[in-house]
């Protein structure tokens, strides 16, 4: 049971990225690397926003390589724009639940209410983002991911608009929920402290290559040369 990146190769002009990874179901992995190293490209290949030049993305025995993002067992929390600001939170979650029509049954509505309660936003369904604080907006974005109910969660430098304390609180909540439901989590981050706190294993992306996952603590205690310059240590 794992997310496989089999001999992935991405080529775009001068840019190349190679990855051959296996991430066990239920694992939590940080992805770290300098800007332009290919972290986001790696995430895009997994999410389905970008097709690899070679190689395959697999979840267990299912080949996802040709699947569009919405058909993959993956939900993603973007840096920003996780919800449509002109819709209420309830309408946003309804669209995530039923992307063909945006209409939901009474049963599905109850599920939306349940998810909102889980992220601490009980009764927020009729509210719009503009009526909510930054922390509440992040919780709503998380609710959107939860309502999709998929086994893999990609976090692309999430909650970067929040202050440090609130950001940690939100990531704690994400990890608590992910743990409870056995989700496989990939967290792209710039922050080594964040990687230590949330991810037992880490993938370093540098100079067009994603290295196989290794234990976070020892790696950050004694980073390889390329990463050392980036971390400033």
């Amino acid at each position: 049971m794992a997310l496989h990146l089999d001999h992935i190769h991405v080529q775009a002009g001068d840019f190349t990225l190679a990855a051959d990874l296996r991430l066990h179901a239920g694992s939590r992995t940080a992805i770290i690397g300098a800007s332009g190293s290919g972290k986001s490209t790696l995430l895009d290949v997994i999410a389905g926003f970008r097709a690899p030049t070679q190689g395959r993305v697999r979840w267990h025995d299912h080949d996802l390589t040709a699947q569009p993002p919405a058909k993959r067992p993956i939900s993603i929390l973007f840096q920003d724009t996780n919800l449509f600001p002109h819709l209420t939170i309830g309408e946003n979650l309804a669209l995530a639940l039923n992307p063909r029509t945006g209409r939901v049954s009474a049963e599905e509505r109850a599920r939306i209410d349940d998810v909102l309660a889980r992220v601490g936003l009980a009764g927020f369904a009729p509210r719009r983002m503009s009526d909510m604080s930054g922390g509440q907006q992040s919780r709503a974005a998380l609710a959107r991911v939860l309502v999709q109910d998929r086994p893999v969660l990609l976090l692309d430098e999430p909650f970067s608009a929040l202050g440090p304390a609130l950001k940690t609180e939100m990531l704690d909540l994400v990890m608590e929920i992910a743990n409870a439901s056995g989700m496989t989590v990939l967290l792209v981050t710039h922050d080594p402290a964040e990687a230590r706190r949330f991810a037992p294993q880490i993938v370093v992306v540098e100079q067009g290559k994603a290295w196989p996952p290794t234990e976070t603590g020892p790696l950050l205690d004694n980073p390889p040369t390329g990463l050392r310059a980036y971390l400033g240590s």
Partner: protein, 505 residues
């Protein structure tokens, strides 16, 4: 996929509407066999009046824009907003107002008579010029005002610290800015006046004041000489296309100007003379633009109760045509609100409505009586003519929506319908309302292709006003014109307002 299919269908319809009628016109033109010396005269007049109209509009716009750029006064905001109004003002309404001011028994002649000065004539070249300046002075002023307001405030501060006099400020700051803006403004107005039909129809005419468009109309309407009409249409097409491409090349000014409501602080021009001159230009322009409309409103109020059933029927036709062409234009514009779609839509500027009308007439004739289809053809042509403006309004917002939400849409897997219903249309509501208002008002006031086709049973309101003027029933004409003005502005207001209420953006 469905979105792309709609875009392809819309593009093919628009392209077909260009290629079909133009081909029909070319085939029918018979190698210019019907071209007469009078047509050469029409070509000359078209070029002369467009050159003079553009030159005068820009010439008067320079001091007016400068006065507006550096003076703050009560009502400035309203005046600047009104400078946008002629765009949606029905030509026939303005013409009626201008006749009331500059016509034989107009205000000006009544003022001149006691002074023993010669009477002013509105019909002919100078009438055409007055009307074109009335419509285009505001446009030129807005374009040039934008240039003035784009001059960094630091330049005027620097000029003040250096103690530069008005002449030095002019040569070092203002003249270079005008050199950049004025050619584009001139070109845009030249192109607009090149295809002027309604003004030439009402104030021109006769061998010495006939534009190509008017000659097309006359050869259709009076001689029913299709070969000549087509040959003239071909010349008009070549002319408009050439001028349009040149204008596109040298114009960098955007159509929708923003931020014209502020005044750049200036330290020069504080003397009594420049203050006096600025006041004079602003007062003259306000009087020139507002008096004709006030005259229409005044004389129209008395005329409205006298309006017969045929006028109300024409008003009904106009509203139907306006709403129909608005719907059609938006159906085209929504899938075409992209870069290449906007290029396609530019055909709506290059192709004159009359040429399009002749082409459609030639295509339809073997199958049906074109006169029966007058209102449908008018609605289609009006939608086509508005398309470039609507695309210019919608495209920036449409592209921003696509750019902002493409990934979220893909991550959620929204269907085409859900995207349209929940995201695209709600977020586009405000510019959509504005674009719909503009199209409806333009279509409502149009006196172009309908004049070619219509019989009395199918007249629209602008045509009815024209017919009433032709029959010297001026009171009824004024009443119908006021009704037209109210309906045009009312439609614009209602649709624009509809877009703003509960708007997402």
């Amino acid at each position: 996929m469905a979105t792309r299919a709609f875009a392809i269908i819309a593009a093919l319809t628009v392209a077909g509407l260009v290629i079909g009628p133009v081909t029909a016109v070319i085939l029918r033109a018979e190698a210019f066999s019907g071209f007469t010396p009078a047509d050469g005269q029409a070509l000359r007049f078209t070029l002369v009046q467009a050159t003079l109209s553009a030159a005068l509009s820009v010439l008067f716009a320079i001091p007016l824009a400068r006065a507006l750029a550096r003076r703050q006064f009560p009502g400035r905001g309203v005046l600047v907003a009104l400078l946008g109004a002629p765009f949606i003002l029905p030509v026939i309404v303005a013409v009626l107002g201008l006749i009331a001011v500059f016509g034989q028994t107009g205000l000006l002649n009544r003022a001149l008579a006691p002074l023993g000065l010669p009477e002013m004539q509105i019909y002919g070249l100078h009438g055409v010029l007055i009307a074109h300046v009335f419509f285009n002075l505001p446009l030129a002023t807005r374009l040039i005002l934008q240039g003035w307001l784009a001059v960094p405030a630091e330049q005027f501060r620097l000029a003040a610290t250096l103690g530069l006099g008005p002449r030095a400020v002019w040569s070092s700051i203002e003249a270079p800015m005008l050199m950049r803006i004025v050619p584009g403004a001139f070109a845009v107005i030249f192109v607009i006046c090149l295809s002027s039909f309604a003004v030439a129809l009402t104030l021109g005419g006769g061998p010495r004041a006939t534009t190509l468009e008017l000659a097309i109309y006359q050869s259709m309407r009076f001689d029913f000489d299709l070969a000549r009409a087509a040959a003239l249409g071909l010349v008009q097409l070549g002319l408009a296309l050439t001028a349009g491409l040149i204008a596109l090349k040298i114009t960098s000014v955007p159509v929708a100007a923003r931020g014209l409501d502020r005044v750049v602080p200036r330290w020069d021009g504080q003397g009594a003379l420049s203050k006096g001159l600025d006041t004079m230009w602003i007062s003259l322009a306000a009087a020139f633009l507002l008096t004709p409309l006030a005259m229409v409103a005044l004389s129209g109020l008395a005329g409205i109760p006298t309006l017969g059933a045929s006028v109300w029927q024409a008003a009904g036709h106009s509203i139907t045509v306006a709403l129909g062409s608005t719907l059609l234009c938006l159906l085209w514009a929504l899938p075409l609100a992209t870069r290449w779609g906007e290029w396609l839509g530019l055909a709506g500027i290059a192709l004159s409505p009359l040429v399009l009308g002749i082409g459609l007439f030639l295509i339809v004739r073997p199958f049906a009586n074109p006169f029966d289809l007058a209102l449908y053809v008018t609605a289609t042509v009006n939608a086509f003519v508005s398309l470039p403006f609507v695309l210019r309004i919608l495209r920036p917002e449409a592209e921003a929506i696509r750019a902002d939400y493409t990934r979220l849409r893909a991550a959620l897997g929204l269907s085409g319908w859900a995207w349209l219903r929940w995201v695209f249309l709600p977020r586009l509501k405000r510019p959509l309302g504005f674009a719909a208002g503009l199209t409806a008002a333009l279509s409502m006031g149009d006196l172009g292709v309908i004049a070619l086709f219509a019989d009395p049973d199918r007249a629209t309101l602008p045509l009815k006003v024209f017919q009433l003027m032709g029959a010297y029933r001026m009171e009824q004409a004024a009443g119908a014109a006021l009704l037209l003005l109210i309906l045009s502005l009312g439609l614009f207001w209602a649709l624009d307002r509809g877009g703003r209420v509960g708007s997402a953006s």
